[in-house]
């Protein structure tokens, strides 16, 4: 009886909830938060992106971005950095994730911990440490700006690639691997015919978590004295010279790119997961 009343209060049924908050009321703080920190900034961003310095609606910022060789160059350079970072992260993370998920050894949790632990240490600290080591090895960091950037980016983003891959591989039923062996597949065939296709959702979420952030993470470039601009640095430089319009339009462009990629990969992951959920239940 008491339990029933409690439920009624919790789930808001008319008369009983005079003294308690209803569900709607409980949502108010979050609604305010979303409005203040997500919706309004987004609208402001879009407004600035599509107006000129006098407040008139215009596509001039867009045209300027895609019309200038310099900005397009920055976009391409960002993509190249992100591409290299993602590929190296994937190449390093996949074997590690496979080892962690399917390996047969003790102290597994400790190993997983060790891969995740760097995420808990402030990233400027980590990059500074790496920077010192690189200075020791290379003499002057400025000699290899691209290499150093990629190295630091990979170091920074590796755990974000390992975790989703690890989760996807953990979900992969061992009997599927055994079945493939049983049907005559060699180790390599088992990998590319069964393990790889079934870990695609993990690869996609890992790539999304590494590719887009690494396009804008200009702090790393600053720290290793790479003076070439990437998207993040471009936004920063516009904003620091109070050019809200051009800074905003780049943010909008990045937002659209992120949106498109997330939508695309989300759809694939969802399909894949739906399939798996039904089969492996």
């Amino acid at each position: 009886m008491i339990k029933k009343e409690l439920y009624k209060n919790w789930y808001g049924s008319g008369e009983m909830n005079k003294n308690l908050f209803s569900r709607k009321q409980l949502a108010v703080p979050y609604a305010i938060f979303l409005l203040l920190f997500v919706i309004i900034p987004l609208l402001v961003l879009i407004y600035f992106g599509f107006t000129d310095e006098n407040g008139n609606i215009s596509f001039a910022n867009f045209i300027r971005f895609f019309g200038s060789g310099k900005t397009i160059g920055t976009l391409l350079y960002s993509i190249v950095i992100a591409l290299f970072t993602t590929v190296f992260c994937l190449l390093l993370a996949y074997p590690a994730a496979f080892f962690l998920a399917k390996g047969n050894f003790g102290k597994k949790q400790a190993f997983i911990m060790m891969f995740v632990l760097p995420m808990w240490i402030n990233f400027t600290l980590r990059i500074t440490a790496l920077k010192e080591i690189l200075t020791l090895l290379e003499g002057n960091l400025a000699y290899h700006p691209f290499f150093n950037t990629i190295l630091c980016m990979v170091y920074d983003f590796l755990p974000f690639m390992i975790l989703p891959l690890y989760q996807a591989l953990c979900k992969l039923d061992n009997s599927l691997i055994e079945a493939a062996f049983d049907l005559g597949a060699s180790e390599f065939q088992v990998f590319y015919k069964v393990v790889l296709p079934l870990s695609v959702p993990g690869i996609i979420s890992g790539v999304t978590m590494v590719f887009l952030p690494s396009m804008t993470n200009y702090v790393v470039l600053d720290m290793v004295y790479n003076s070439t601009y990437i998207m993040g640095s471009l936004i920063g430089s516009y904003f620091s010279s109070y050019d809200w319009n051009n800074g905003s339009v780049i943010s909008v462009i990045l937002l659209l790119m992120i949106g498109a990629v997330t939508l695309f990969s989300g759809r694939i992951t969802k399909q894949e997961q739906a399939k798996r959920a039904r089969v492996l239940k």
Partner: protein, 496 residues
């Protein structure tokens, strides 16, 4: 001689010789497993979960490598060959169909790896689907199939490769009762049609009895009995098999005359014959006991309960100290006194296993103040010198033999034995000399027989009237005066 060898080669498809398997270096699954399977047989490994049947199957499939011993396929050792190099296919417990491939690609998985021509692939897949009764399912996606259909696809995927041996690891356990019954018959028919040797693993005794040509009953990594379903059911070779396969009444008895055994307080004519005085375990199936009028059977008893089970009643009768289970077509009112009759050929006698409760120990040095101690694997205690050396005399604090020579007791190996009936179980860990977990128990007429396994993996068999549960942690009280000792003679070849 040569001919005999080739004969043997063609007859036994697979042979397991002295297979030993340990996990992580210390968990022993099986110590010495030997089995021969003939070409075309339908063999079932039957046993409770954890008895090692799946591990044996996985070793045949190549998913586990035996610690020692060899697996011969057509006379050739394949024990270290990886699964993809063996002409053996497996149907997995949870089907293990590839979720990213459709039905056709799942079945053709093995054929594609063999680089078969597309037309041949199509033909074989079509034929395999025909065998499992799912024609036209090629394009279907795996997750649109029901459990039973997935099971059939898993079978089709295995048989399409035309393996010499098909391994089935509890393939029906995930299906509902009706579907399971259907698949049992279908699998049996498939086996007949295909002529492939099947090794089937199950813990369901009914399934094993229905399907197999040969059943291998396993417990604790050891084969308990190999035989046809009829042999296993009618002539169980030990109490475990008798208890595990079907229902059975087990009584303690003794041979009193030629083909006459005494149990339940009466003398029964039987067909098995052992030396007079032999202690036997008597196994009688509940459906083999006839309820008659008082005075017409060998014994009589009172009806304790009667429960309807569809085709028969399960009737419990108390006769003396024994509780007897009977499957009867007729219902009897509770409290009625009835006679019970058992026909001679329905009484199965198993000579009492004398190998139980023998433990090796080593004697310590004898001294007057400390006495004589014996060290076993699990415990040590003091023994009276005369229990081991009946002829010895005590003089001046030392033990003297018959010939006047002092006996050096230190290091002498002895064997201690006791009857299950003299020991007792206790839940007070300190009450007994040995502690362990109950790993199995049987109901034997008027009491239970428990097997307790100690930490050092030594098994103790104890009769107790109280009901304990499997996995219960108990200590065993062994009355010292009821234990008999025997000196283990030193083998002459120990010196060579």
């Amino acid at each position: 001689m040569v001919e005999g060898k080739t004969m043997k080669k063609s007859e036994n498809l697979i042979e397991l010789r002295h297979i030993k398997k340990c996990f992580d270096g210390n968990t022993v699954v099986t110590e010495d497993f030997n089995l021969e399977v003939k070409k075309g047989e339908f063999v079932t490994f039957l046993g409770p979960s954890g008895c090692g049947k799946t591990t044996i199957l996985r070793m045949i499939g190549g998913f586990e490598i035996p610690t020692s011993g060899e697996i011969l396929l057509n006379g050739e050792d394949i024990s270290v060959l990886p699964p993809n190099k063996r002409p053996i296919n497996t149907v997995f417990q949870k089907y293990a169909l590839f979720p990213h491939l459709n039905v056709y690609d799942n079945i053709a998985f093995g054929l594609k790896l063999k680089k078969l021509a597309k037309r041949e692939q199509d033909e074989k897949v079509r034929h395999a689907l025909e065998i499992v009764d799912l024609e036209g399912f090629e394009k279907r996606s795996i997750h649109t199939l029901s459990g039973g259909q997935q099971q059939r696809i898993a079978i089709a995927r295995a048989i399409v490769n035309e393996p010499e041996l098909l391994l089935l690891d509890e393939p029906l356990s995930a299906l509902d009762y009706k579907m399971r019954k259907e698949m049992q018959l279908e699998l049996k028919n498939m086996h007949k049609k295909l002529g492939i040797t099947f090794i089937f693993v199950t813990h369901d005794q009914e399934e094993a009895l229905t399907m197999s040509d040969k059943i291998v009953v396993m417990a604790d990594g050891e084969i308990q009995q190999i035989g046809t379903p009829e042999e296993i059911y009618n002539e169980p070779s030990n109490l475990f098999v008798a208890d595990f396969i079907g229902e059975s009444n087990i009584f303690k008895g003794r041979m009193v005359d030629k083909k006459k055994a005494s149990f339940c307080g009466a003398v029964f004519d039987c067909v098995d014959d052992y030396e007079m005085g032999t202690v036997v375990d008597v196994v009688v199936r509940p459906e083999d006991i006839e309820i008659t009028a008082v005075g017409r059977g060998q014994i009589q008893g009172k009806i304790l309960s009667s429960d309807f089970k569809g085709t028969f009643y399960i009737v419990f009768v108390r006769s003396g100290k024994n509780e007897i289970e009977i499957h009867s077509l007729k219902n009897y009112p509770i409290g009625t006194t009835v006679g019970l009759y058992i026909a001679p050929d329905l009484i199965h006698l198993i000579p009492y296993d004398n190998s139980i409760n023998h433990y090796e120990g080593v004697l310590g040095a004898y001294s007057e103040e400390k006495g004589l101690s014996v060290e076993f694997e699990d415990f040590s205690w003091e023994v009276k010198p005369e229990q081991i050396f009946p002829d010895a005399t005590l003089s001046g604090g030392s033990l003297t033999g018959k010939n006047g020579q002092p006996i050096r007791t230190e290091g002498i190996r002895i064997e201690a034995s006791f009857q299950p009936s003299v020991a007792q179980l206790s839940d007070d860990a300190k009450a007994g000399v040995v502690q362990g977990k109950i790993i199995s128990f049987l109901y034997v007429g008027d009491h239970y027989r428990y097997t307790v396994r100690s930490k050092s993996e030594e098994d103790y068999v104890v009769d107790d009237e109280d009901l304990w549960n499997q996995e219960d942690f108990v200590s065993i009280l062994i009355p010292q005066e009821k234990v008999t000792y025997r000196i283990i003679p030193i083998k002459s070849n120990d010196f060579i």
